[in-house]
């Protein structure tokens, strides 16, 4: 080997983000449909959660068996293994809190693994509130563990990490964006992304697009929502897009009762969006308006739709400027945000090839949009139970029936607080043209518990009691008509929120889901006929949407349950 060749090889191995032979992520992977790797939140930018892998299919899935299971422990001792467990590397500690708040599942015990797991070059990257791990995708061996000492905040979940070259990014409940070296788990930097004192808490997975790390956050008080873009190298803020009007002259201000109401209007961005490389648009959903359960202070009149709450919003990733929006719940009064994944599909509609964006919303309605312009194409109710709207207006938006607001005497309303669907990722199967969605048809009595809107800040002023359910199902929505091709009802879920955590389809003709009764299930898809359950493994309460990848030429199916990561393959 010549000196030049040696030098070139050395450069190739040392290049930051190098993709020749290192462990880093080749950014080109992000723009392709999900295949061998799982390099971003939904496998690819479209959020279809459809894998082109077909090694495991309807004919052999019954032979799917355990490859490995790896149990994780949160907190300072999380890297060291248990008494009977093999030794593991010590935990790398970060965080700004002098005295970290003790939170089971974060500082100790079994973590809640409700996020996506990245799989890049044979390594899995896993996160939970305040914790991150790297794991060998062949056997579940832990390579490193990182723990963030928390100053507190809502520790409801963490949706996963993002990757850029050899660098990882994840958010903490106490509002930091943390970047780690993927090889070692050592911290590169951390940046405060929201004001902890205003009760922001951060759960979402960042998304890397080009030289941008797109970061959302959450809040249950009444702080304004926003999306931010950070430089993956330096951690510098590139732009910040507010989802509510913040000053006089801002667009949408006339849809609020006052500027003060808008500035306290919510619209949090707490689930990752989709990305359309052609238009450079990042397409994401926004949260509910606040106060959540009364329109009195923010929208007493019909014109007060409270933009851009409960909306699908498209922002140019280079400029941070909004290109279009569509509001799915004008003046929402039930805390049904519209943060559900917006799935990008190229398909026929109305006899023409269209570039589409579709969302099944928490409010029980399905929306089909043109993703280039935001043009509304179709609205259809996908929950039979949803009873809160008086009808659909000329813009294709369901119009709220004030009699189904929270009332002092109580109103029987579906969906319940959890929604007809929620963060639970849907899956779109290009072979059938169907969008598969977790559908929850629960009813609650909604009671207004305050007559003083000043006590209804954030999520105040409401008591909701679940009083029944028509069940939890997978609904197959034909986007061309919005009608259901089929609905598969889970018998064992009892209609509760516990259960179905998200969906995955593969080119092997399979749909993976948990059944809400402790089993990961593989269904054989049969077109417009209801699917057939073909395989299951009882692994406990499944916490995330299943994923699939190949390592060493072999296809794996991955899911988490009760603090453990489970991998399956064909023996």
């Amino acid at each position: 080997m010549t000196k030049t060749a040696k030098l070139l090889l050395l450069i190739a191995f040392c290049w930051p983000g190098g993709s020749l032979a290192g462990q880093g992520l080749d950014p080109a992977l992000l723009t392709k449909p999900a295949t061998d790797a799982w390099p971003t939140y939904a496998g690819d930018y479209s959020q279809r959660r459809y894998s082109t892998l077909a090694q495991i299919d309807t004919t052999n899935v019954r032979h799917l068996s355990l490859a490995w299971v790896s149990r994780l422990t949160a907190g300072a001792g999380g890297g060291e293994g248990g008494f009977f467990a093999p030794p593991a590397p010590p935990t790398v500690t970060g965080g700004v809190a002098a005295n970290p708040v003790n939170i089971p599942g974060s500082t100790s015990g079994s973590p809640r693994l409700s996020g996506s797991i990245l799989q890049v070059n044979g390594i899995l990257y896993i996160s939970s509130p305040d914790n991150a791990w790297a794991m060998d995708a062949l056997d579940g061996h832990i390579l490193w563990h990182y723990w963030w000492k928390s100053r507190g905040g809502t520790h409801i979940g963490n949706r996963g990490m993002a990757m850029y070259g050899d660098w990882l990014f994840f958010e903490t409940p106490d509002d930091y964006l943390v970047s780690l070296d993927a090889k070692t788990g050592q911290e590169r930097w951390h940046r405060e992304i929201a004001d902890f004192n205003q009760q922001y808490f951060s759960t979402t997975a960042p998304l890397v697009v080009g030289d941008h790390v797109l970061v959302g956050t959450g809040d249950d008080l009444d702080a304004p929502g926003f999306l931010q873009s950070f430089d993956p190298k330096t951690g510098d803020l590139q732009w910040k897009f507010y989802t509510v009007p913040m000053k006089q002259g801002d667009p949408g201000l006339d849809t609020w009762a006052s500027l003060d109401a808008a500035q306290h209007g919510g619209a949090q961005v707490w689930i990752p969006g989709s990305y359309d490389a052609e238009t450079h648009l990042y397409i994401f959903g926004t949260g509910n308006p606040t106060p959540a359960y009364t329109a009195r202070v923010r929208g007493p009149r019909d014109a007060h739709t409270n933009l851009y709450t409960c909306s699908v919003v498209a922002v140019n990733v280079e400029t941070g400027k909004m290109a279009w929006y569509f509001q799915t719940s004008p003046n929402d009064t039930h805390d049904w945000d519209s943060t559900q994944p917006t799935v990008l599909v190229d398909g026929m509609f109305g006899g023409k090839a269209r570039k589409l964006a579709m969302q099944a919303s928490r409010n029980g309605y399905f929306f089909l949009l043109d993703r280039t312009t935001g043009e509304h194409l179709l609205t259809m109710k996908f929950s039979d139970a949803a009873n809160w709207a008086a009808g659909i207006n000329a813009n294709g938006q369901p119009e709220r029936n004030p009699e189904k607001d929270n009332t002092i005497a109580g109103s029987l309303v579906s969906p319940d607080n959890g929604g007809a669907t929620n963060w639970l990722p849907p899956s779109y199967d290009p072979r059938t043209g169907l969008l598969y969605v977790v559908l929850r048809e629960l009813y609650s009595m909604y009671y207004l518990t305050s007559t003083d809107p000043r006590m209804m800040v954030g999520l105040g002023g409401s008591e909701q009691d679940v009083v029944g359910s028509l069940g939890t199902s997978i609904a197959a929505i034909d986007y061309r008509t919005g009608k259901l091709a089929w609905k598969y009802r889970f018998e064992g879920t009892g209609g509760g929120f516990g259960g179905v955590s998200g969906l995955l389809t593969t080119a092997g003709g399979l749909l993976f889901a948990d059944d809400g009764a402790g089993s990961l299930v593989a269904f054989g898809l049969r077109g417009r006929k209801a699917p057939a359950p073909l395989w299951h493994a009882h692994i406990g309460s499944v916490e995330n949407a299943p994923e699939t990848y190949t390592v060493g030429g072999r296809q794996y199916v991955l899911a988490t349950a009760e603090g453990a990561v489970w991998a399956f393959y064909l023996q």
Binding site: T154, L412, G468, G494, G495
Partner: protein, 279 residues
């Protein structure tokens, strides 16, 4: 209103859901209060309230949630960021002339006490019990519905299972029970009073290919397994494949489930108004 078809409420429903209620995770996972401040001594909080009432409430309201001219201070950004008065003090001592707030010559200790009182105030009533009266219905119309259109007497009796129900449960619990038919874990989540009555169990009948039938209380069910407990306590489970064995689940509150999409809120309110009179 409901049709005769739905009235087969004790009829067998193949593959019905086992239990109907669990508390919504989203609704029950309450955010902790931010930021986590050590509570101030009660006498300091009381003193703060007194100082606030004499100096600040004229503009900001006696509860500090906003008055004629002053904004809501409890959820103000600056107050949320303040720890022990360090951010509030300069504003009180210097005023905000541009916004019409005069300066006040209060001692540092008085202002720290005001801060302690402000920080002790809840940001909202989230999670606190409601004392509002939910009874708006007409008891007479509720009684007519109970005996007539509602067909409630097919299963229930005001001298039997519902005797003195108005003395046993608070109105909100009764109203929730009317819709649910019983059971559930989320009832009275924030309400005082007795726990809701337990539901009679969901039962299941399994018919084996041999023709043998086994009946018992449903333990759990999925697409792959059905399990039951027989009347003598014996636990039995069966693998399921395609439609074998035949499984028939009977939910005792199936009528209430079928009724969910049919209810009018006014009928629910009237029924509640009637049932609370049964003491």
């Amino acid at each position: 209103m409901h049709s005769g078809r739905r009235f087969r409420f004790l009829g067998s429903v193949i593959i019905a859901c086992a239990a109907t209620m669990t508390a919504s995770q989203a609704a029950t996972q309450r955010a902790p209060d931010y930021p986590v401040r050590p509570p101030a001594p009660p006498e300091q909080v009381a003193h703060g309230q007194q100082v606030f009432r004499s100096n600040c409430s004229f503009c900001h309201g006696s509860d500090a949630r906003g008055g004629e001219t002053g904004p809501n201070l409890v959820r103000a950004q600056l107050v949320l960021a303040d720890q022990q008065g360090e951010l509030i003090t300069p504003i009180v001592q210097n005023g905000l002339p541009a916004q019409g707030m005069p300066k006040f010559s209060l001692s540092a200790a008085d202002i720290a006490a005001i801060a302690a009182w402000l920080h002790s105030q809840p940001l909202s009533d989230r999670g606190t019990p409601s004392t509002l009266d939910i009874l708006v219905g007409n008891a007479k119309e509720g009684e007519a519905y109970f005996n007539g259109a509602g067909h409630c007497t097919q299963c229930h009796s005001v001298t039997g299972d519902l005797a003195a129900i108005g003395a046993r449960y608070e109105p909100k619990t009764i109203q929730n029970l009317i819709v649910s038919g019983g059971g559930g874990r989320s009832f009275g989540r924030r309400s005082a009073g007795a726990a809701a009555p337990k539901l009679p169990p969901t039962t299941v009948t399994v018919t084996l290919p041999s023709g043998q039938t086994i009946t018992g209380d449903l333990d759990h069910i999925s697409a792959f397994v059905v399990a039951l407990r027989a009347s003598d306590g014996t636990y039995r489970s069966f693998a399921r494949h395609d439609a074998i064995p035949k499984v028939v689940v009977t939910n005792p509150v199936q009528w209430h489930i079928d009724m969910l999409p049919q209810w009018r809120d006014s009928d629910i309110h009237n029924l509640t108004a009637y049932l609370v009179t049964l003491k």
